[in-house]
């Protein structure tokens, strides 16, 4: 099967790759580009562990084809911190212990970043519904919600 040549931007860097027409963006990120921060928890768009932002839109990368990334702007967890400087959401997740096993954390951080970009002052309910597409089995979500609330306050003050 002939590969599809794709030219796209990931975390600000121009990236080119060949992928099969049926290959998902998640497979491309993980298996071709070595960006393993996005996780496959289900492969069916139900768990959000593979969340990335494509052209300012939050998506499950397991539901996007690698070929569809042509000409897009993609943000993944690997691009969230600026060098040594963690994003406020990353810092607050650490301070609040909003992770236990941590496998859902990249997806939650990307989803929370997208949420705060669109709604800088979410209520608890808006956070809970905004993050309802991401599954966490360890925390019961309490500390995740608090971390996002705290990060929102920090980001508004900044």
């Amino acid at each position: 099967m002939a590969g599809v040549a794709v030219s796209t931007t990931i975390n600000g860097d121009l990236v080119e790759y060949l992928c099969q027409p049926d290959e998902t963006l998640l497979e491309v990120l993980r298996d071709r580009l070595g960006l393993t921060g996005a996780k496959e928890g289900c492969g069916t768009g139900d768990c959000g562990a593979c969340s990335v932002i494509v052209d300012n839109r939050l998506v499950c990368s397991c539901l996007v084809l690698g070929a569809e990334a042509e000409g897009r702007q993609i943000e993944t967890i690997e691009g969230m911190a600026h060098g040594d400087q963690l994003h406020p959401l990353q810092q607050k997740f650490l301070e609040h212990a909003a992770l236990q096993c941590g496998v859902c954390t990249p997806g939650f951080l990307i989803a929370a970043k997208d949420l705060l970009a669109k709604n800088p002052s979410p209520t608890e309910e808006e956070i809970r519904f905004g993050l309802a597409g991401n599954l966490c089995r360890c925390t019961g979500y309490d500390k995740i919600v608090r971390a996002v609330q705290d990060a929102a306050n920090v980001m508004k003050g900044a």
């Binding site: 393993t36 928890g41 650490l94 309910e125 991401n134």
Partner: protein, 754 residues
Amino acid sequence: MNFDPRFSGRNFTSVGTRPIRPDGVDKVTGRARYGADFNMAGQLVGRILRSPHAHAVIRKIDTSKAEKLAGVKAVITAADLPDLTDGDTAMYDILDNSMARKKALYDGHAVAAVAAIDARTARQALKLIEVEYEVLPHVTDVDEAMKHSAPLINDAIFTEGLEEKPVKPSNVCKRTQYGHGDVHQGFAEADMIVERSFKTEQTHQGYIEPHACVASVNADGTADLWVCTQGHFVYRQHCAQLLGLEVSKLRVTSSEIGGGFGGKTHVWAEPVALALSRKAGRPVKLVMTREEVFRASGPTSATSIDVKIGAKKDGTITAAEATLRYTCGPYAGMWAEIGAMTAFACYRLENVKTVGYEVLVNRPKTAAYRAPSAPMAAFAVESAVDELAKEIGMDPVEFRIKNAAQEGTRASYGPVYGPIGIGPTLEAVKNHPHMKAPLKANQGRGMACGFWFNFGGQTCTDLNIGMDGSVSLAVGTVDVGGSRASLSLVAAEELGIAYEHVKAVVADTSSLGYNDMTDGSRGTFSSSMATISAARNAIKVLRERAAQMWDIPVDDVAWEKGHAVAKGATHGNLAPLSLKEIAAQSGKTGGPIAGHSELVADGAGVSFATHICDIEVDPETGATRVIRYTVVQDAGKAVHPTYVEGQYQGGAAQGIGWALNEEYIYGKDGRLQNPGFLDYRIPVCSDLPMIDTQILEIPNPNHPYGVRGVGETSIVPPLAAIANAVSNAVGVRMTHIPMSPPRILAALEAEREG
């Protein structure tokens, strides 16, 4: 070296604080490597072919077409995993579960596997494998499986534990019994008796990370396995035995683990990955899909439980009895036995009897799920306790306080309790503001207690002091939720240095002695005990080195707040030497400074919790909503309180999902109907409220800091607490978990029809 594990009171400096975990930055930046995030040069992709039948004889497997497909490097069946178990039936079951040998015993049972150059080729190859099945009648329901007319799953199994050896094989593989006193006499003394039957459905641990490994077997008989596991030493043992490898030649590295909750305590596809690698002569990466995780890893038991409890008018329980039937999947287990042991563990009972039946069914092999077997038993018992309190006219908290086990109580499963937390958690609940929060229409409040044994086990830890005075702590218990932070705190506490100077890692199986897996809430309990022991051994060396540097007897050197201090009038002019100063001179005073510890961490203190919850029920639809939830649990000593809270909240959330929504749904064909997160719906963020926690600290006398395990007990009370809340909200006793909307509507309808 002699190590005294007994509790001694102290003022803590590091333990009890809440620093950021050492593996945290890796986990928020995506750098942490989980099971599927590791790759090796030349690695192939492994895939498993699974039975579509719940019960079938495997007549023939033809792999020839698959083998001829370009890019396929190995195809294996059970023939490539010869039986080396030598009469060890538990290991034989694990082998048979990895790859079916004669019969497929459940929908999803592995029958063959391939390794190919990429995933697409591997998937194509699976389609080319031809399996000839003779489909047999199957049974998936626990009560159906116990009937004499039920299809027999294993004709070599005769019920153990009966007075007379049975003449016919059975799906009931074992009967067990616990208790003391005379329940007949006890019930005769009772003024009120409640007798009820309950059912719970099978649930899955639901870890977000599917099972994943990379296996590499070399021509010289050495092998490597990179895998997400709760116990890499146990995986090494299992895999070495099943593959015929020498234990020390198989190195197992535990990746970061994306949740386990008991489901990653024994091997599933790892022996298959190793067998594929051995046959192909190349590394093989094998990652389960979510559907495979549901169909073919190890969910918990489905159960059917009868409970009978009698009490006097004054609220004294006179007798308690339960019969518990638990599914094991198609292989023998001890799940009902654990249920029988835990069922009445919260209470002080003169007459108690529990009987457990282990039942084989055509479902995946049951695995541990967080305090395995206890939540279902607690659901049945705590529901009946609530009902009995109501009949007597006592407040449910007061009724439980009156009958709660105490120090010196003989537990229903045998031992006599030391200092325990059931009474204090009940008192805390009684006084908790949650109990006074107003309820609206269609809302109900419920509470329930829970117990878990906790476990200690074999533990080995190395503590190495660098020449700059920083400390490397190598532990062998997999970190499932922050234990590297808690163990670093313990090392810092014992040595008297700052937390920031300790770095804890989970060592691979070639770098450290054997450790039992992280189960039984043992991670922080047992490894902190070994860490304290290792640190004390290191301090002994540090004192010797300081004595050498000062040229004084070692008996004159004490260790205080991270410093060697010279004692006695003759050494008054010697300034204390810091750990850093001693470490800097180690090359000249005898070489590297380290402390090691190998021990069996006996004396895991038992754990109790009491939960309160408020549930709103929509009487039109049967839909439920959790309004408030509070967890009160004894931690012994909370080493890192934030992660202790996290354990409390996480267990409660899993229990909420189990109580209200989660269940394995099998069709009449014996196939699992909902093997995905869309149809097997675990709680999402918008389903839950904040989960309030209260940590009690009743020191465990068998741990130097008083620590008890905290990981599992939190899942024990929720099923019952929520069932009591729903029952109070709708005025009908709920007896079938999960209380999904159709079940609640059916219960309301049955009540209306009388």
